[in-house]
């Protein structure tokens, strides 16, 4: 290695990966419903999209992406919940990888929930 820049480049590339192993003490938790209902309606690509984007955007350390079991609203799967400390939980329904990208951009980075994908926006009777 002939320069510090080279070292820095490797570090930045590896950092998000290694940071994931920092103890799971991150502030914001993003949870994807991954029970049978969730998986059947396509939760897996949503989970991988969220996880990859969080790493790509350098949010590891601030945001944890994990799975959970059935949330109980099977007809609205894939469901993604975003839990920020001190704020009300936001539940996104009928998610797709594309919608997930939007949530990362606008909610996790921008700080504003994407209202029209949330459970509140859906007309539940």
């Amino acid at each position: 290695m002939k320069s510090l820049e080279e070292l820095k480049a490797i570090r930045e590339r590896m950092q998000s990966q290694v940071n994931m192993r920092d103890g799971g003490h991150t502030a914001t938790r993003v949870v994807v419903g991954m029970a049978t209902c969730g998986i059947a309606s396509g939760a897996r690509p949503v989970l991988t999209a969220l996880s990859s984007l969080v790493q790509e955007k350098g949010l590891v350390g601030k945001v944890t992406v994990t799975q959970t079991g059935c949330i109980g609203l099977c007809q609205y799967e894939p469901i993604v919940e975003v839990m920020e400390p001190g704020k009300e939980k936001i539940t996104y329904i009928k998610m797709t990888p594309e919608k997930a990208a939007e949530v990362v951009e606008r909610h996790l980075i921008g700080g504003h929930p994407v209202e029209n994908y949330t459970l509140n926006a859906a007309d539940i009777k």
Partner: protein, 595 residues
Amino acid sequence: MYRSHVLVCGGTGCTSSGSQQIMETLKAEIEKCGLSDEVCVVQTGCHGLCALGPIMIIYPDATFYALVKNEDIPEIVSEHLLKGRVVTRLLYEETVTPAGIKSLEDTDFYKKQHRIALRNCGIINPEIIEEYIGTGGYQALGKVLTEMTPDEVIQTLLDSGLRGRGGAGFPTGLKWKLAKANDADQKYVCCNADEGDPGAFMDRSVLEGDPHAVLEAMAIAGYAIGASQGYIYVRAEYPIAVQRLKIAIEQAREMELLGDDIFGTGFSFDIDLRLGAGAFVCGEETALMTSIEGKRGEPRPRPPFPAQKGLFGKPSILNNVETLANIPQIILNGPEWFASMGTEKSKGTKVFALGGKIHNTGLVEVPMGTTLREIVEEIGGGIPGGKKFKAAQTGGPSGGCIPAEHFDIPIDYDNLIAIGSMMGSGGLIVLDEDDCMVDIAKFFLEFTVEESCGKCTPCRIGTKRMLEILTKITKGQATMEDLDKLEELCYYVKNNSLCGLGQTAPNPVLSTLRYFRDEYEAHIKDKHCPAGVCKALLSYVIDRDKCRGCTLCAKTCPAGAIIGSVRNPHLIDTDKCIKCGACMEKCRFGAIYKK
């Protein structure tokens, strides 16, 4: 990009309890479930909780699975990795609370720990240099080479207060300063990885879990003292450590972090391995250097000190593995950061290898000044079976014991010396009421007699005579005059031996004599071993009232020493009895006891 990392410990402890097989199964199951692109399996170094191995941690949640078995893997993969449901029954018990799963960092074992030397152990894959770089690796070397002069590096170490972790506690910065002051065409940086104290394995863990930290620190040392060549002297009995060091050196050379013109600064440094053949004395600095030179590993008198005339007659420094592992962090975080931890004269942290009568056998790193009580009761989880703490043995064959009366002593270099023990490399063996202190002293002396190189008479013959007296004591054949002679010999060997091995060999005897003289006297005067350990002084007896005549003991006895008929009380023939205790273990009525 992976959404989840599964870390499996590949240290010696977990490897011997089957972690390699677990990793294979894990990869196969992940493949089977089609998760290969989402989940990666990472082999790491030691997490410290060796008693609970094999250990597996799943991130991003840091879920901690303990005592994992191969047959548990399919369930972990399909439940946890595929469906996201934690397999609670396999979790480390202490993390399971009524309120949910507790973070690992909040458990008693980890809560009071502060990991500097072990910071990457159990976190990164030691066989991938990029992972080390990802945690800030080789940044300290970059900083030193581009921003600091050698004198500034040495001053930083002096200011940090770092002292050698190998046992003697010599200030590291001072050692480097002395070596730098001597001009020579060639100088050497040596790493002492000949960890030989029975019960100590922190250096092995660092080498297995974070080998690059040692390489980086050695290169920094090379820059500071003006050396271009380093040697790591590592015991051949550490095959995993040797293997990972080889890989690490290879990778560092490929990336040109070792070799010529590092970072384009004109500084060149390379490292080679030298394997030790298992002689304890080769951990002594002059013997170690003699051994690297290809000669028989024997110590030589000092002065000249290695800083003047060391390896191949050139100015050299020798640092211990744990000492080196601290150095990149001191460079990056500053000497004030390091000096803010610990006690007045002992800064930073120390790694202890917990062993003996303790729940959490393993490796812990705590700030200097942590009390023995905190280490044993809180971090170590106390003594199994509700037994009483009797003493802790620190420093292996060179150290001594800390009795219960000093349970609250803050542990640092000077406090331990003051109470007649020493830090040593950090082995900490917990003894309870069932341990005989004379027997412990004898155990360590047997070790030093075996390992004495024979070059100087006080050590070669003195330790042998001491062992003979100790053996007499444990057999109940000694007199009080023998005890006086033993003590006199201790001081003679201590004062007249050539190297540290002989000079410290009497310590286990001296410190047990200091705190447990009554036990020695009981062996001599009453022909009685209070702890019931010394075989010659005890006999097994069957209580006639409790014995139901089930014949189990008679069947168990390997010497055929138990006589008696069915449903009648049995009797032990003391002439035939070999005192193995097998009958007592087997008896279901508690009818057999030691006298």
